[in-house]
Symmetry: C2
Subunit: 208 residues, 2 copies
DNA sequence: CATCGCTATATCGAACCGATATAATCATCC
DNA sequence: GGATGATTATATCGGTTCGATATAGCGATG
């Protein structure tokens, strides 16, 4: 799940770990407050699998590009980038800011993860998929939305609404959750509608 | 988090693992679709720490009830309980249905977990706490609600609403999430209001 | 009576979280 | 100018949780 998120962000631009977390927090809704204890291991394993490469963003003065997008490494400095290797020695070396770039293999992996129908059960990974939906074909997009909707409708049916045996607090939680599901469904309805409209001719972007 | 949930359910009545999962799923809102890979280890560690005791509920054919409440260890049984030890041998022993009962230590632990102000950051554990709020003192209940509200308001402030730079899909997700937060806040408002009303004299149960 | 589906327990590896340590950079105030 | 604190940044550790899978008894249906 995190892998998909990271790859999706890296499709846009090169990033380092800290920045990835920020984007996940700000962009992709507040629910995803991912911990560093997840991000760095994820980056390591993505690197090991060849989906991304780490370019030591030690900032070598040059590289004026990095425009807006890539993490701003101030300016003139860089010289000591390599010293990191000797970090444990007395020499104070600049801790390297590792900037990650997605590879072709990574782009392919992202495509697979995004399209994979299974494992979209939880709200988090659905939201994530939807946030990256522009990378999907219109058809895949539509079926993503419809699968999700079907799932929620099913759950709605399973829960006998408003059991009176629960105490007021528990009942309130259950009710609030149920309301949330209903709200999600109508949200999906509007997305599905505008998606269909988009399919039938002119592009109309999703409402809301 | 799971520990609190399990203890809370066991306060009500004795249960076995499978039943715990069902209650978590049905009662405490659909969000908590907890896996067995979490429940059984949790039960084991609670047992090891002395918060619960397992009473081998062997079920020998009887037990037509399954009556609502306690896990139906119907009646006369016990005989083959010990056979479980030889499970790997040829003898087919009934796989024991382990029924767990909360201890005094467990009840105390539950009280501590429930009251502990920290670690209520995520929606799941907040909902869980609230669902068990009847075990809290009115004051603690109120401050639980207020802390949660403050947290959500803060998040609401931090997210610059509706950033236009996002593509429509991501924007829709962010917007929907933000709406959800607003909805949560007004839910909390109504809970807080009725809680205050309850404090000031007569008992009025929470609305909704 | 065979097979299917539900109840039930259990375990394994991988993912994920929260806390913590470490460091460099930057702002600010004295 | 230099102490102090906030922010940016990487990393690791222990423990919890998840998802998949294996096992097995039991009731119903055909």
């Amino acid at each position: 799940m995190l892998d998909m998120a990271i790859l999706g962000l890296l499709e846009e631009r090169d990033l380092h770990g800290y920045e990835i977390r920020r984007q996940l927090r700000d962009h992709l809704g507040l629910l995803a407050n991912v911990s560093f204890g997840s991000i760095y291991p994820a980056l390591t394993r993505l690197e090991k699998s060849g989906a991304v490469v780490a370019t030591e963003g030690g900032s070598t003065g040059s590289d004026p590009g990095t425009t807006a997008a890539a993490p701003p490494t101030g300016s003139l400095s860089g010289e000591l980038a390599v010293l990191r290797a000797r970090r444990h020695t007395g020499t104070r070396a600049r801790r390297g800011k590792k900037v990650y770039r997605i590879t072709d293999a990574g782009r392919q992996l992202f495509g697979e993860l995004l399209a994979d129908a299974s494992s979209a059960d939880d709200a988090r990974s659905f939201s994530l998929r939807l946030a990256f939906a522009r990378h999907l074909a219109p058809q895949a997009r539509l079926s993503l939305l419809e699968r999700r909707r079907a799932l929620l409708v099913q759950r709605q049916g399973e829960s006998e609404s408003a059991r009176p045996d629960l105490d007021p607090y528990a009942r309130s939680v259950v009710q609030h959750t149920a309301d949330g599901v209903a709200r999600d469904i109508s949200w999906l309805d509007s997305l599905i509608a505008s998606e269909r409209a988009g399919l039938a001719g002119a592009r109309i972007e999703p409402v809301r």
